[in-house]
Assembly symmetry: C2
Homo-oligomer: 337 residues x 2
């Protein structure tokens, strides 16, 4: 039986009722990681299973589902105290965020790490007003593809991993609410990203991809929900694509010889580890040529866009304090050292 | 510009010269993980960067590339001392295996963990004869889809993760060559797997998938190189597919109420974490119904088949000793606790 054109791009998924995929996945995730996390079913959020921090600032993040392991996979010792998942590509409700904030507050306040999307900003903001807790919000807005847009500003993407790791490490060391928030803001201010899609994602239970790319076309500056980017171009060798991602990021950060960075090469869903390693090698080579020091690296699918093929490149400026917090021990389902 | 039928299934990859993807990926992998691993370029193998085990048995594995993070991602303290990568889906040479064996031998011998493929078995066997080291081979042959075939026997798939983890932990505790090999063989003997493909993989640099599935068709019993399985069937909800994977595995192991298992739900490449969590939840529910105790779990893309969509289910019988070795500390690029 040969494929019809219609079935040729059909994606099949492991799903029962597509409307139930998020709660079913959360139940499976909790059970697979039960020494690390617990799922609060109603309202829905993931918390640490072993939360033994009486005297620490709480660190909370969240956002739409479909980006796993972000954010639920980063709940645990040394990173997030809780994560609030919305529906697929949909913001969590203020009620969810407020309940999670209350659950993790030990009287020292809670930092909200919020990716810059209208719904997330609004619902985390409402939750901060509703909650009895003292809350400091850290906004993550790293995507240079949306730099010049009017309106909501740059989107938040993979830099959120660095902000969550550094805030979590600071909180674990007993930093105050203001200190944790300041470290998060400093990390976000020194972080920029750029993504490229080689193939569009497909929503679970749907057969057709969420956008079409023409023969040999790729989409530069794509968002983690498959939002249109800065433009389409012809596919090219990895070395060229790495330069297309790195140049605007390095420029936005004003990187110069001697600067130190964390490099995140993030898979957007269905791009293979071999390809991500090739892209990391190319990015490192380009940074070498600029005299920028690649001090730390993270390569893998950490902030996905369902099964989109593609990757994002994030550079995060490091200083001694940020590097030490990045290196601090962490134990979560998706990140451990 | 609308997609033509031909481009509709076109996959684009991050690659320069497809013939160079493996060495380029190894160079990037080494650089991203330089505190953990070192790449020996000629002959090609990955070794621990911090190899400080004067009095331990060496543990070595390897096989074709395209399955990353397997095996190179499992090199580090508490797991593999070295991994030998072949080309994409191609066995490493006997020369590579022999050189890696010699490099990690501390005079106490080396265990070879070999997935059951003709080329791997032959080349690891030749290397064992060539090497001055004392070598014990542990064969991993867990794929029940190939149970009844004449010829080379069951294929080796994701059970190799458990064998590598348990042998590595035993070696780190100072077990003898015979003891490490016995533990590996016991683990392999108690492990069976079954896979299903929802979409075929595409080789880097090629646009067309390596096999066609008809409209709504999936392939049960597929191998990790896209080998044909036990048959095609219509796509079905996750609960049904979990039963289709679990029933033959549980039957092959003769699992009964009260038995204890490690459950591995492994993504084959482009299947999203949400879907893997749903499948794990379904598998755990089916094991609950059989009275089998889900003692440990590992969910994620650990043994991939390039960008194939699909997953495999592996069950590994546990006893107190194997569970303790599974739990022992490990620090590698892909597995850390």
């Amino acid at each position: 039986m040969s494929e019809s054109p219609e079935s040729a791009i059909a994606r099949r998924h492991f799903v029962n009722d597509p409307r139930r995929i998020v709660p079913e996945a959360l139940a499976g995730f909790e059970r697979a990681n039960r020494t690390l996390v617990r799922w609060n079913r109603e309202p829905s959020f993931i918390v640490r299973a072993d939360d033994d921090r009486p005297d620490q600032v709480g660190v909370l993040s969240g956002g739409g589902s479909g980006h796993e392991p972000l954010h639920t996979g980063f709940v645990g010792r040394g990173m997030l105290d809780a994560a609030v998942p919305g529906g697929i590509f949909a913001s969590p409700t203020a009620l969810q965020v407020e309940a999670a904030t209350t659950a993790i507050d030990r009287g020292l306040g809670v930092v909200h790490i919020v990716k810059n999307y209208t719904g997330d900003v609004m619902n985390f903001g409402m939750a901060a007003e509703m909650a009895a807790s003292e809350v400091e919000a850290v906004l993550v807005d790293d995507d240079v593809a949306t730099e010049s847009e009017d309106g909501p500003g740059r989107r938040g993407t993979a830099a959120v991993i660095a902000v969550e790791k550094i805030c979590g490490a600071a909180a674990a060391r007993g930093a105050s609410l203001a200190q944790v928030a300041e470290l998060g803001r400093r990390t976000a201010a020194g972080a920029r990203s750029m993504a490229v899609a080689l193939h569009a994602p497909t929503h679970p239970g749907q057969a057709r991809a969420s956008f079409d790319l023409g023969e040999g076309e790729i989409e530069l500056g794509v968002g983690i929900h498959g939002e249109r980017g800065v433009g389409r171009r012809q596919h090219a060798p990895a070395a060229e694509l790495a330069e297309a991602l790195l140049a605007p990021v390095a420029s936005a950060l004003g990187l110069a010889s001697g600067d130190r960075v964390l490099v995140i090469v993030n898979g957007l869903g269905s791009t293979h580890g071999l390809e991500l390693s090739v892209m990391f090698g190319e990015a490192a080579r380009l940074l070498d040529a600029r005299g920028v020091e690649v001090e730390r690296a993270l390569v893998g699918p950490y902030v996905t866009a369902l099964d989109m093929a593609g990757c994002s490149l994030t550079l995060v400026r490091l200083d001694d304090e940020l590097a030490e917090l990045w290196d601090a021990p962490v134990r979560t389902p998706a990140l451990t050292w």
